[in-house]
């Protein structure tokens, strides 16, 4: 079910009416019904896997709580010695770890099966292709990556004692299956979502306007930018031309950086807007990433929920393991305090970004892209003292606006080098990147770009330019700590409405510029 469809419109609007009227005292049940309806619209077979994840994780949480309670009760038993208490606690920790490991393994196996089995079955010359999901009539469950990560985060938080286990399976199922987050995230946290999902929400006109504003802005990004740039990018890159001029490759990658951001953040804005209509504030997933001043900063602004998840559930647990702590001590004693602190983090970063790469897909170029990001961040951390010394030696005014702009541009370039491997197969990415530096050929741009731009028709590029300017203005306002919605509300009514109609009709006009619409890049993850 696409977000821009009659079915979704009816689901949300009828759902809203029921939510604030018939189900006003048990709104979470209404949300659950809507979520399951939305989920099964993409195929009822996937429901089995969603229920499996919800059940195993929920039971895992309850069992963790039971183990904690048992351990606490046994340690309070009369006459128990200190050593016995320690042993009981250690045993409880071991059991909890085994339980978490078992539940996580089961769920990641399901995720891995859907994401990777077909790819590796093909590599093995179809030896296992009979067991591939498609051979068994199975379609990847909607949002399996996102709800699995979300559920895993809940279980690990239960293990850490961050919050008590949810006792009501149905309420927990709502947390996993809440429909706006299913398409492409964000990956929400139980502690922040659960109270909202079960609280009673009163309809609020101001909140509704904000939600619709956000939804419309997201739709503009998705349809008037992402959908209109995708055909030109494909026209340039998908021919896998080894002789493609560097200037054309660069043009395509720059457009891809725009398309990626518009598609993903546009979709996120739309689902955040939908959730807001129901009074639910999901976590933001983007914070003007192209204003980042370093690659590390970029990953704190791009796909924020995934980055935070990786930080909390992979980076820190890995970096704080005994072997990594021993490694840190060794590095301190052999390389100094700075390296002792940064080297373990660098290794952890490489691991995290390798996982991020693989999460995008099993193909080699995703791993390369992930490792590239990890390596750049690791090197930046390792060489930070050297860069500081260099800046001082060169008398660079690091507090100046010019330096700030330089860092933004530098980061943008670094990110775009990574996009070469995100968008293209590994060998093709290498060829395009090499030709960007060794065979730029500006005249090829003048000769070939007009043809590539014709992959879309009508006023497409006018729409892209206007929409991009609006997105830029929106980003600048947010970067300055201002609220774009509030700024728009300050405009005279007529001007406000002109802006709204402009955005609405840019979205509608976008459909005449392309032969067919494409789904979200991060759907089917």
């Amino acid at each position: 079910m696409e977000i821009y469809s009659l079915s979704f419109f009816l689901l949300v609007s009828v759902g809203l009416i029921l939510y604030y009227t018939v189900f006003s005292r048990c709104q979470w049940i209404c949300l659950l019904g809507l979520s399951l309806l939305f989920f099964t619209a993409s195929g009822w077979k996937g429901l089995v896997f969603l229920l499996f994840t919800a059940l195993t994780i929920w039971l895992g949480g309850l069992q963790l709580a039971k183990l904690d309670a048992d351990s606490a009760a046994r340690r309070k038993a009369p006459g128990i010695t200190k050593d016995e208490k320690k042993a009981i606690k250690a045993q409880s920790v071991r059991r909890k770890k085994c339980l978490v490991a078992a539940v996580l393994t089961a769920n990641f196996l399901v995720l891995g099966y859907f994401k990777y089995w077909s790819y590796f079955a093909e590599l093995l010359s179809g030896a296992f292709s009979a067991t591939a999901p498609s051979s068994l009539g199975l379609v990847m469950p909607l949002g399996i990556s996102f709800y699995t990560f979300q559920a895993v985060g809940y279980l690990i938080d239960c293990y850490r004692g961050r919050h008590p286990a949810e006792k009501n399976y149905v309420r927990f199922l709502l947390f996993i299956s809440f429909f706006p987050q299913l398409i492409q995230g964000p990956i929400n946290r139980y502690g922040e979502m659960a109270p909202q999902l079960t609280a009673r929400h009163i309809w609020n006109w101001e909140r509704t306007k904000r939600a619709l504003f956000l939804f419309l802005f997201g739709a503009m990004k998705k349809y008037a930018i992402a959908n209109l740039t995708a055909p030109t990018i494909a026209a340039i890159l998908d021919g896998n031309d080894p002789k493609l001029a560097g200037s054309m490759a660069l043009l395509a990658i720059l457009l891809y950086s725009l398309q990626q951001y518009a598609d993903f953040s546009g979709g996120i804005d739309m689902v955040l807007g939908v959730a807001q209509l129901y009074g639910i504030e999901m976590m933001p997933n983007f914070r003007q990433p192209y204003f980042s001043t370093s690659l590390g900063d970029f990953w704190r602004r791009w796909h924020i929920s995934l980055g935070a998840w990786m930080r909390d559930y992979l980076f820190y647990p890995f970096a704080l393991t005994k072997p990594m702590q021993r490694f840190g001590k060794w590095a301190t004693s052999h390389c100094g305090k700075h390296f002792g602190r940064v080297l373990p983090a660098a290794v952890a970063n490489l691991l995290v970004f390798a996982v991020v790469g693989i999460w995008h897909g099993p193909q080699a170029h995703y791993l390369v892209w992930g490792l590239y990001n990890g390596l750049v961040i690791a090197l930046a951390d390792l060489l930070e003292p050297a860069f500081k010394k260099l800046n001082t030696a060169l008398h660079i005014p690091t507090e100046s606006r010019g330096w700030h702009v330089f860092r933004i541009v530098r980061t943008f370039i670094i990110v775009n080098i990574g996009w070469y491997f995100d968008r293209n197969e590994f060998v093709q990415g290498c060829i395009y990147l090499r030709s960007t530096f060794t065979d730029f050929n500006l005249s090829a741009l003048a000769a070939n770009a007009p043809g590539a731009f014709k992959a879309v028709s009508g006023p497409a590029w006018g729409l892209v330019i206007i929409s991009t300017l609006l997105v830029f203005a929106h980003s600048v306002l947010k970067e300055q700590g201002r609220d774009p919605y509030a700024e728009v509300q300050r405009l005279p009514l007529a001007l406000r409405w002109v802006l709204y109609y402009l955005v609405i009709f840019m979205v509608l006009l976008s459909f005449i510029c392309v032969n067919e619409t494409v789904g979200f890049l991060y759907a089917n993850f």
């Binding site: 696409e2 821009y4 469809s5 079915s7 619209a41 109609y501 032969n515």
Partner: protein
């Protein structure tokens, strides 16, 4: 109240802007609009012909109506895909009870990729020409159909101006729309199917390697098979007699299509599964239809006006025989009989390949399986006025020409059946820049 008034005003302005856009887009010149206008003018329909340009060329509406003496609706437009034909068929069976539905097969429709904008334009043309009382129901049916309900088309159906292209000449577009409005006034309404006379005749010595097989993908897509099956099912459920036919085309387009008779067998079997019949009029015996080449064809796959007239007469005779319950199967050859009769070369083609020091000439020809062709190559070098022979007749279909100087070379290949004494039976010429 203030909010409700604002919402109402906002919505009203939104609708007005949409109406204004409907006035400019799409341009009112689509063949879909003509087809649907003509369709909606008919009170009752006896025979419907559905398909692409193959249908409209082979069975022009006025010709078939005159030949049969019945009311005929031609629901065919250029490049009409199977799902558009499905829309046409569903509308037809909902509103009429035709005696026959003739679905003209186009192999491109079984293999090609759907063109979403053409489909939308087709549907909007139907909605545009619908009567006002039928528009809401038809619109709702489209928006909630299985294919559209969960996609963007379900909402975009509310914006008909999206179905066309962005006008490049605004004054001309506005003039066109105004003329169309005037033409829709009752006293101005004339024949909607004003088909231009088409007297072009194919020249087999210039057509080269252009044919359906070379221009399209070959595997039937699952989607198109489903669309065809749905149409067969619909007619079966409605008790409507469906004739699945292949219209006459040039022999070259039949023999060059490598899987033609496998596809023929497939269509025969599929039609039979749903109580329909498949007739390939390329296999029709002369007593049913004599496919005169090149006289009846304007290109390798389309009939011209003369062909359409002749085939319409033949179809009228065929339908009369069906009505009388006569055996019609005996009026068609088997594939092997057909191929045995193709004891000639339909055409020859030449594909030059430029190499640094020579030009490689690759020839080929289309003919029946019992024929063996031989080839003779000629060249007219730059500056020369006469052809000179490169290689004499042999069954080898290629030769090399060692080009000495840069310039434009003219090449010609002659083809004849081995053992023939003719100088040539077919030829093809082309030029190459070296």
């Amino acid at each position: 109240m203030k909010h409700i008034a604002k919402i109402a005003a906002f919505t009203a302005i939104f609708l007005i802007i949409n109406l204004i856009l409907c006035g400019f887009m799409p341009p009112d010149n689509g063949s879909s609009l003509d087809m649907w206008r003509s369709y909606h003018q008919k009170q009752s329909i006896d025979i419907a012909v559905i398909g692409s340009s193959l249908a409209s060329c082979a069975l022009p509406e006025e010709e078939l109506a005159a030949a049969t003496g019945e009311t005929v609706a031609l629901m065919a437009t250029n490049a009409q895909s199977l799902d558009m034909s499905q829309i046409a068929l569903e509308t037809l069976l909902r509103e009429h009870s035709p005696r026959y539905v003739i679905l003209v097969m186009d192999l491109t429709n079984m293999t090609g990729k759907p063109y979403a904008k053409a489909q939308k334009a087709f549907l909007y043309a139907e909605l545009q020409t619908d009567s006002w009382k039928d528009k809401p129901a038809d619109l709702l049916r489209y928006m909630t159909s299985r294919d559209n309900f969960t996609g963007a088309d379900s909402l975009n159906a509310l914006f008909p101006w999206q179905s066309g292209s962005w006008p490049t000449d605004w004054p001309a577009t506005i003039q066109q729309k105004w003329n169309a409005v005037l033409n829709r006034l009752p006293h101005r309404r004339g024949a909607a199917h004003a088909q231009p006379e088409d007297t072009a005749v194919i020249n087999f010595d210039t057509v080269g390697a252009v044919n359906t097989w070379n221009q399209n993908a070959h595997d039937f897509s699952a989607q198109h098979i489903e669309e065809l099956t749905s149409m067969l099912q619909l007619c079966q459920e409605n008790g409507t007699r469906l004739l699945l036919i292949s219209a006459p085309k040039t022999t070259l387009d039949v023999v060059s299509y490598e899987t033609y008779f496998d596809d023929y067998a497939y269509f025969k079997q599929l039609a039979a599964e749903y109580g329909a019949s498949y007739y390939d009029f390329n296999l029709a015996k002369p007593e049913l239809f004599e496919n005169k080449e090149p006289d009846y064809h304007k290109d390798f796959t389309h009939m011209n006006a003369a062909g359409g007239h002749a085939f319409s007469l033949s179809m009228a005779k065929f339908l009369a025989m069906l009505d009388a319950g006569q055996d019609v199967e005996s009026l068609f050859e088997t594939p092997s009989e057909y191929l045995a009769a193709v004891n000639y070369i339909t055409n020859v083609y030449l594909t030059p390949e430029v190499h640094p020091d020579k030009i490689l000439l690759l020839a080929g020809s289309y003919h029946g399986p019992s024929v063996q062709a031989e080839y003779e190559f000629w060249v007219k070098a730059p500056g020369e006025s006469e052809y000179s022979r490169v290689s004499a007749y042999s069954t080898r279909s290629w030769t090399e020409y060692p080009a000495a100087e840069h310039g434009t070379y003219q090449f010609r290949v002659n083809a004849r059946i081995v053992g023939s004494s003719a100088d040539f039976e077919r030829y093809y010429e082309c030029s190459v820049d070296f």
